[in-house]
């Protein structure tokens, strides 16, 4: 049985297209708003940040926590989903 949420499965199972940043697992309304304030208003922008950090999960997690105020669990969820999404589609 998978321990990941439905949100996670929905995200990693298909191209993200123009999904909002709140579609990212781990990123709810509050965190999403913070990210939007920094002009990261689409999920693909956050993906872009992940990629420009060369998919370094540790550095990306650090950045995400700082940028969105995410805690370790939320940041890990988002990072994991992006990692998996890239495995599937990149």
């Amino acid at each position: 049985m998978s321990t990941t949420s439905k949100k996670h499965q929905d995200f990693v199972d298909e191209p993200m297209g123009n999904k909002a940043v709140t579609a990212l697992p781990g990123i709810g309304d509050a965190l999403g708003t913070k990210l939007q304030k920094q002009d990261f208003d689409k999920a693909y922008m956050v993906l872009g940040q992940y990629l420009v950090l060369k998919k370094n999960t540790e550095q990306f997690t650090e950045w995400l926590k700082k940028a969105s105020g995410a805690n370790s669990r939320q940041a890990a969820e988002c990072t994991e989903s992006l990692h998996e999404w890239c495995n599937n589609f990149l």
């Binding site: 940040q49 420009v52 950090l53 060369k54 370094n56 550095q59 650090e62 950045w63 700082k66």
Partner: protein, 188 residues
Amino acid sequence: MSLSSKSAQEISELLDEYGIKHGPVVDSTRALYEKKLREAMARGKRAKPSPDKTYYREEEEEVVYHTYRPPMGTEGAGDSKPYMRSRPEYTEREYEDERTYSRPNLEYRGRDYVHEPHVYDTPSSFRNPSYLKSTPVKPGGDTPKKAESSHLIPPWVQVLFFLAVAGFLYFVFSNMETTHSDPFKKIE
């Protein structure tokens, strides 16, 4: 040193010097990389302004070769000297920035680790080859350790234990049945 006034290229080079893996230094990544650099500087990591990228060596943990030294006379002191020497030697090279000089050092360290202890610990290698071989095989991730007898079994205990085991085995052997007598002989 004001990191924010440096160019992206300079930041990138600094990251390389501190051995921090990184992507392009752009607007969205700059703050993170500056933070990483400040952390690295605070940790006192030695920056390596050398063109050679030697990632196989962790800069925080100095590669130190621990030789097992049984307390045989004064050689213990003599042996620790070359071990100690390796650290200031390396530091000096860094600060003087003698690239030609440091390169052989990097190459030297890059070579098979087994070679190095022979240079430093030749006298001991004849006496304890087995111990010497075991320690250099470990990669540089080991914390430097001297032969702290408080953490190892004191040698005399080892000798005592050995004699005890030997004595016990002798006792066992001497009391074994000989093949001449028939163990199944009925005692009447």
